[in-house]
Symmetry: C2
Subunit: 348 residues, 2 copies
């Protein structure tokens, strides 16, 4: 099988912003790398990591910023407040950073029921307290009715990067293992069903949670063997892994049968013609670890309540470089690309 | 004259969010202190400072988060991108923090002209470069047409607090001087006129700029004498000073004639029945300094290009405690309260 190596060059040629630019796939990448990043050019930004790494004092800080516009505001398993806190904590976690503090800005729509706001404040406070991280400040703005679909939240997090962790896509080697913390697709499909636009029902809820306890356990057990981590949110596992291998001399071979997917998610994806590997998750993370620590890392993650579903889903291979391929149980292979378009707008 | 001391107790009783909750005055204070803060209760948040102070390593970090929903996006003297960067840098500056890095989240409306986004990215990059601060990351979300009035921006800043500075309203003493960096009201009135809803024109532009060069000069000259700083944005000088004196054993006497106001701003305020002390500024700061360093601090600020208009506008007095009073040239006095209601929605 030969697959042409995609050149990691991005130009932004669109003249209008479209929903797909916010979906986390190729269009988002073009927007960020082709338009935003060239304006803000600096070495830290150029890493395009989930969080920025800032040298400070004897160590390094991680900072991250996330906007949340999920629709509906509340859904089975969570709400915009949960997502805002967990999503930001997760960006710090997969940067190997212990969260220190969060801040939040609210853009509220005039006419918003205060009970809704209060519910989200409570959700944010609970999610932060679960991890013992204070919400230390923020800002509140109000726009006219109809101008913010209820509320939008932006969260900012700062963390302290564990000095034992050195994450770098360039350090990934053939033979390294790809680990996944649990079943995928729950969040995206839950949101889709919660909108009620489809005549589908399922006993399903968002996986929104903070992955720091799992990451922390893996760091304690085998920090030096962890090469890369990412939380596969918008664009899903496929997009996250494609971002890893892009421009690298290695690729990923995914054992598709090994990837845990709830039946309801698989069924909805089949019905709707969606690839579960493109569906957003809000409580899972991917890690590439060296072969020799893979079992230890998995054991450490599984020992944390909620981490029992962690599995090895693939490995790093020399060929094809810069590509993610799926391998089926019968040995068949398929190219797995980033998300294109926006099948699920406003998922987070 | 006796003025009853207002008790600093806040309860939030409204059932719907209204525009005034975002205006920076009393309603905003009730929302933040009566609803948001109780949920997020922690010692750092309880300070209600412009930026949160986080002990880290040998020093302290300052972090701040701000949402921007200004309408129109562009106005004489600046745009939402300028405000987003300068506003966040200013919150760090008045916390005595040298800015280290910024992040930004964009909530974009589908259909937004990419040229508008690009103009704002350039404005942000320029404003950040002027102060030598990198924009190290962020997030972009897209919502449906009509759901974000073009674009909203949230910015997050992290800075390193100068160890020589110890800002604390409790350290303010009668006899201390109140300094102001320049003319007030330019931003708020510029936005009001830019909306074109009033049949008024004036040769006026927003004062949006970063105040760190002025603050930095004052710190270098007399750090130990600086007791408190604030940038009087939403709610203006009156609200900022009321927030200072609230619950304290001292008050502020403002020499109203000493406060610099451009003629066009004064004229518009008179015509519209607005108090210029309630009008938002985006490039000024207030400082309370000990009497013995007041002249030095002013000289330091004035020596920086753009700081020539800095003046002493009043002093701290024992009576009436917890109040801001204005003193006219003829010795007349008036109580100056916080902003109530929202005469100027979406000013920043």
């Amino acid at each position: 099988m030969t697959i042409e190596l995609e050149r990691p060059k991005m130009r932004f040629r669109d003249t209008q912003i479209e929903m797909a630019h916010g979906a986390g796939g190729k269009a988002s990448r073009r927007l960020v790398e082709g338009l935003i990043a060239p304006h803000f050019a600096n070495p830290v930004l150029a890493e395009f990591a989930d969080a920025a790494r800032l040298p400070y004092g004897d160590g390094s800080l991680a900072t991250t910023a996330d906007g949340f516009v999920v629709k509906p505001l509340q859904f089975p398993g969570g709400s915009i407040g949960d997502l805002a806190v967990n999503g930001t904590l997760n960006d710090l976690a997969v940067s190997g950073a212990k969260p220190l503090a969060l801040m939040a800005t609210f853009i509220l729509e005039a006419g918003l029921d205060v009970a809704v706001l209060e519910r989200e404040l409570a959700a944010m406070a609970n999610a932060a307290q679960r991890i013992g991280v204070p919400i230390v400040g923020g800002d509140t703005k109000v726009v006219e009715h109809g101008m913010a679909d209820g509320m939008y939240v932006s969260t900012f997090g700062v963390g302290s990067i564990d000095p034992r962790v050195r994450l770098d896509p360039a350090s990934v080697r053939p033979g390294d293992r790809v680990l996944l913390s649990g079943p995928i697709g729950d969040h995206g499909i839950t949101i889709l069903l919660a909108r009620g636009e489809l005549d589908l029902e399922a006993d399903l809820q968002s996986d929104t949670r903070c992955v720091w306890p799992f990451v922390s356990a893996a760091i304690e057990r085998c920090a030096a063997g962890i090469r890369w981590m990412r939380d596969p949110t918008r664009g899903g596992v496929a997009t996250a892994l494609n971002e890893l291998v892009r421009g690298q001399s290695y690729g990923v071979a995914l054992s598709e049968d090994a990837i845990p997917v709830h039946d309801a998610v698989r069924g909805a994806c089949e019905l709707l013609g969606l690839d579960v590997l493109h569906i957003a998750n809000e409580g899972q993370f991917l890690a590439v670890v060296s072969e020799d620590v893979a079992d230890d890392a998995l054991a450490a993650i599984r020992a944390v309540p909620g981490g029992e579903g962690a599995v090895c889903i693939g490995e790093i291979r020399e060929k094809p470089p810069g590509q993610v391929v799926g391998v089926s149980g019968y040995g068949g292979m398929r190219a797995i690309d980033m998300l294109v378009g926006d099948p699920l707008p406003r998922i987070c």
